[in-house]
Amino acid sequence: MIQHLVLYPILIQVFLAVVLLFCWRRVHLQKVISVVGSFLSLGIAIWLFINTWNQGTLTIQAGNWEAPFGISFVSDTFAATLVLLTAISGLAVSVFSVGTILPARLKFGYLPIFHFLLLGLNGAFLTGDIFNLYVWFEVIIISSFVLITLGGEKAQLEGALKYFTLNIFASMIFLTAVAVLYGLTGSLNMADLSIKVAAIENRGLVEVTAILFLIGFGIKSALFPLYFWLPASYHTPPPAVSAIFGGLLTKVGVYALIRVFTLIFVGDVFLENVILTIAGLTLISGAIGALVQNNIVKIFSYLIICHIGYVILGLGLASELAIAGAIFYLIHDIIVKTNLFMISGLIYRIKGTFSIRDLGGLYAKYPLLSLLMVIPFFSLVGIPPLSGFWPKLALITESFKVDNYWLIAAVLFATFITFYLIAKIWSEVFWKEGKILPKLHNFRYFEKLKLEKKIQIVGPIVFLALVSLYIGFCAENIQQLALRVAKELLNNQHYIQAVLGNQL
């Protein structure tokens, strides 16, 4: 039983998706299975995390083919943490989807595809093989493309086209990079690649390959200057879909960047400078982009871009504390961003619009819900002691150590703009006296929903807000986790040993 633990997060999602496909017409049964299955997969993720924490890196060779010839699945602390976060967000979004997605969409297989998406995410985090990583990226893209187009509204299709074109392009570049890497080393196993790439004489070629990877993953994680697809598409699907996209999809790109640049392409000064420059520019341009938007979902979309900059900054600085800061930020960001998009869905349910100008008066009408929404908003800004504060502290400290003042300026600028935007949203959406909006036909306003639906919408937001509070108030635990991840990433011998075993 326990020897296959690494595969369970992947297998449970396939299993759920298949069972859901069998229940194609029974939408109500699908809802029950999806929520129960998400609880189960959270349990498995916690089990995997505890085992990885206690026993160190776990590996399994699929099909009993020995590494580096077969496909290895590896759960180090980093992967196990992300699988756990995926399960937490997955559970929240699953319940939220049950409450908000229209029956017409559910009838056309929304829930099975949602679980295929989670399957792709878990697979990408756990695989130890770079070509297999590509395959998981394909699983993610295909299912996300179905999710983004399901419903077939005009705006959705337009957004989907941009999303799909650029993501397929990124996949092509990624695949090319894998091919070049295979040509150079004759291996696809990441642990094996780590050894073989270090031994290559022609460093120029290695750098070019690394840049190809940077571009491929950079498009997927929406880095400067390749992020334009994200704000053009994330506001078009229903909020539940935006939540899982905003929370996890760009983060897979970031995960892949961190994995590849700490395991395979290590210690190249040129690359580190490129990454640092991109990080700074991402922070600044994302923040400026968010300033001029009027649609709350679009503001959040630009903030995703902006805040990816923090994580990449930590990767570029490449010291232990900086990477720990980046990991901490990643943990905080996944939870908060998922929550923000769900909140935008809730606001839409209440008022029937996403436009800041038209919204207003939320605090007067729903004081308790407004207080709930404060938690993710202020966590995002990083008002101490909420969760966004601690990683920024680490990142700024580390930037001071290398005397890189323009990076510090970029970090502070992005934080300040985020603060300004949240204050703006707070005053416009919550405090400002609301306009009287024309009633929409065929639209079920929040106040008219049944109690069961209300719980399905507000419950996940409360759940993720509690997780955010935990991250903020028990920051020591998270920092300990982040430091351990950073240590493992920087001393990759451990990972290599775990995968290749006694062959070294």
Binding site: H4, L7, L11, V14, L21, F22, A62, N64
Partner: protein, 137 residues
């Protein structure tokens, strides 16, 4: 396309093409072929039948909705991954084989069931897509 030649030919081609698709499926383990190609050939057989005799007749011939083949195929492929754990306590997806080859099929093992799963998924997906497009046109 209601021509007599196509209509007559498709009645003979359907079983032939299906037989050929099984051949390709079984051939796939050591030689070019396999579940994916086999599934496509089987799908073509039905599409040809639909062109000649109309979509309704083909649907009657199939009896089940082709979309139903997708979860069946996926479940079969998943089961073939689990079979080494259940039968011989080996890691997930390890190939297990019967020692003696069967007369027509050749060597039988868990990989064959995986391929049959792929075959069913491919038939299901391509027929669902083509039938939907034909209906909406």
């Amino acid at each position: 396309m209601k021509t007599v030649i196509l209509k007559t030919a498709s009645n003979y081609l359907l079983p032939l093409l299906l037989l050929f698709s099984f051949f390709i499926l079984l051939r796939g383990h050591y030689l070019p072929g396999g579940g994916f190609v086999g599934g496509l050939i089987a799908a073509i057989a039905f599409v040809l039948h639909a062109f000649a005799n109309g979509l309704e007749n083909t649907k009657q011939l199939l009896r089940i909705h082709p979309g139903f083949l997708m979860p069946v195929g996926l479940a079969l492929a998943l089961f073939s991954g689990f079979s080494p754990i259940i039968f011989s306590d080996l890691p997930f997806m390890t190939g297990i084989w019967f020692p003696e080859p069967l007369s027509v099929v050749g060597m039988v093992g868990s990989a064959l069931f995986f391929d049959i799963g792929v075959y069913l998924v491919v038939v299901g997906v391509s027929l669902t897509i083509i039938f939907t497009i034909t209906e909406s046109a």
